[in-house]
Symmetry: C2
Subunit: 335 residues, 2 copies
DNA sequence: TTGAAAGCGCTAACAG
DNA sequence: CTGTTAGCGCTTTCAA
């Protein structure tokens, strides 16, 4: 069932049929309605390959993520997919597996498929390489959840600094005065910004930041255990609050605090960032930030769509997404 | 940069260039090498839209899953994507969000994109509807991890019965003689087959199955808690082993056993199915089955690829994937 | 408001 | 072994 068939049945030219299908202005209302009803009746589906070929657009976008089994990227991916689906685009997902070389490969292969735009959750391709790839093809790009060195581009990410500030203030509001931080690596943007937000809040409430109060992990459960041990040792268990840089590290922290017979929240109040399903099941349930994954995905998709529709839009937007507190028992000391 | 450009530079006809690019036999070796080197030098990338249009194939396959944030579907998706990438195909992922209506929609939209084949992790579309959709277009289909009523098709799934048998035998081998089961819903194939494997093992070792020893949950943490409470009540805590139908329910079980001061594994040995990252962090670490997610994905991809390449292959294969035991401390009673 | 004809880049069929 | 011709389904001129 092609446009030609539809046109024949309707007794019009193929072009008129095309006009009807694509909402062109120059067509009589009745003709259009007739054609549309015939198309519907015969389950006409336009051939996207032909359309692409002619218009030099693919009606597909590319999404590069490190790993889909990570809930964050999963949620983001779904949001992006749904947004573009509404606009008749398909989403090609590609994986970088956390490696720069694979990331570049994925980008190349997406470009070969003539995607109309790309959303990239980078693991840190150097900006210059990215710039070469994209400028030469002039394909719109939106980066999520990481900044790319040496590349000014559109970007959507957590407002890590604000969010960290929010958590820290919350512990303070709950009466904590000796707050520790299990930070992620400062070499990573998200780790550094969370660190900065912590410092900012501490400053603002007039608490001194003792370097003993800050330890580092690499986002894993195991490193959370290790970091907590170190933190307790360095501070002689004088802490009354701890912020964990992410929820996996918080998970490690729970078991260590448990082993030390430190009660949450009465001895130590604890809070963390990501709202994983599992934090509800911890004892006590862990205070975290609300999930903004799908908001990030949708904002990135929206921005990319605009860029595709208006390629002359040269504005570079950095969109920071703020989360809200999800207060649970692990920080409730006042009630 | 098109084939025509390449042909001009090489001083051959456009068709000859095409022959070189597509590994056709009828071409002189030197000509081919010349053309390939020119193509490489100019970063020639074939226009897939044109190719599709001409050959009536899209070089893409569709994957329909309920939800990508589920680790199982994530792993399966990655495996499928990687397999088809090797063969020059892209994978279009679509979500059913666990709803039949969305599942049908997703299938329709994939068909509109003229995918060459579909892999479906169904939530239970009725077979007749699926049959209509696919037979009319004659598109190869492989179903994963669920059976579709009234539809004979290629399918790849966990050997749930065998796996359940394996876990039950393991508890027996560890000395358990009063084994309970927290089953998933028997209305779901995976729940029922796990149930059957449990019964089979119990029979084989000559243990009687008391109906008090079997309770039901709906795969969630919460239902695991409830089911465990019920189980302990019904049996008066005489159990020395429990199989949980999945790891989330096992997670709920842990907290209840803990509250009842029942020690794992000395009082009760426990084991479960899915090997989530989190089970390593439980105290004690939980014995589970090995992860076969990516094996399932790869087998499904391989089968679909065969069907695409040999559309006359009418054989319907049901591939059952067996797991192995991953013994951890939660069942170690002998050593 | 509509139609005719050309052509996007590629490959199948057929000739040479 | 290589080239010519036609056409996949659609949209874009341009003319009516």
């Amino acid at each position: 069932m092609t446009l030609k068939d539809i046109a024949e049945i309707a007794g019009v030219s193929i072009k008129t049929a095309s006009r009807a299908m694509n909402d062109y202005p120059d067509i009589k209302k009745e003709t259009k309605e007739l054609i549309l009803s015939i198309a519907k009746e015969h389950h006409y589906v336009p051939n996207i390959a032909a359309k692409s070929l002619r218009q030099n657009r693919s009606y597909s976008i590319g999404l590069v993520v490190p790993d889909l089994t990570n809930v964050f990227f999963g949620e983001v991916g779904i949001a992006i997919h749904n947004y573009f689906k509404k606009h008749g685009y398909s989403t090609l997902i590609s994986f970088s597996e956390g490696q720069k070389s694979t990331e570049i490969e994925s980008l190349d292969s997406l470009l070969a498929k003539q995607v109309d735009g790309i959303i990239l959750a980078t693991v840190g391709s150097t900006g210059s390489r990215l710039k070469t790839i994209l400028k030469q093809k002039n394909i719109p790009l939106v980066v999520i959840d990481n900044v790319v060195n040496n590349l000014r581009t559109n970007i959507v990410l957590h407002d890590n600094q604000y969010n960290s500030y929010l958590l820290t203030r919350h512990l303070y509001d709950q009466g904590c005065r000796n707050i520790g931080l299990i930070s992620g690596p400062l070499s990573e943007t998200s780790g550094r910004r969370r660190y900065e937000g912590f410092l900012k809040a501490m400053h603002e409430v007039g608490l001194e930041v003792n370097s003993n109060h800050i330890v580092y992990g690499d986002w894993t459960i195991k490193s959370g255990r290790r970091a907590t041990e170190q933190l307790l040792e360095q501070t002689g268990s004088t802490l009354d609050g701890i912020i964990a840089g992410n929820s996996l590290m918080a998970f490690g922290m729970y078991s260590v605090l448990n082993e030390h017979n430190l009660h949450i929240p009465s001895d130590i109040a604890v809070a963390s960032f990501d709202d994983l399903e599992i934090v509800e099941a911890l004892d006590p349930p862990l205070t975290t930030l609300s999930k903004v994954d799908s908001i990030i995905g949708e904002l990135a998709a929206k921005r990319l769509y605009t860029l595709i529709k208006k390629p002359d839009d040269q504005e570079l937007l950095e969109t920071l997404v703020k989360a809200e507190l999800k207060v649970r028992r692990s920080t409730l000391r006042n009630s």
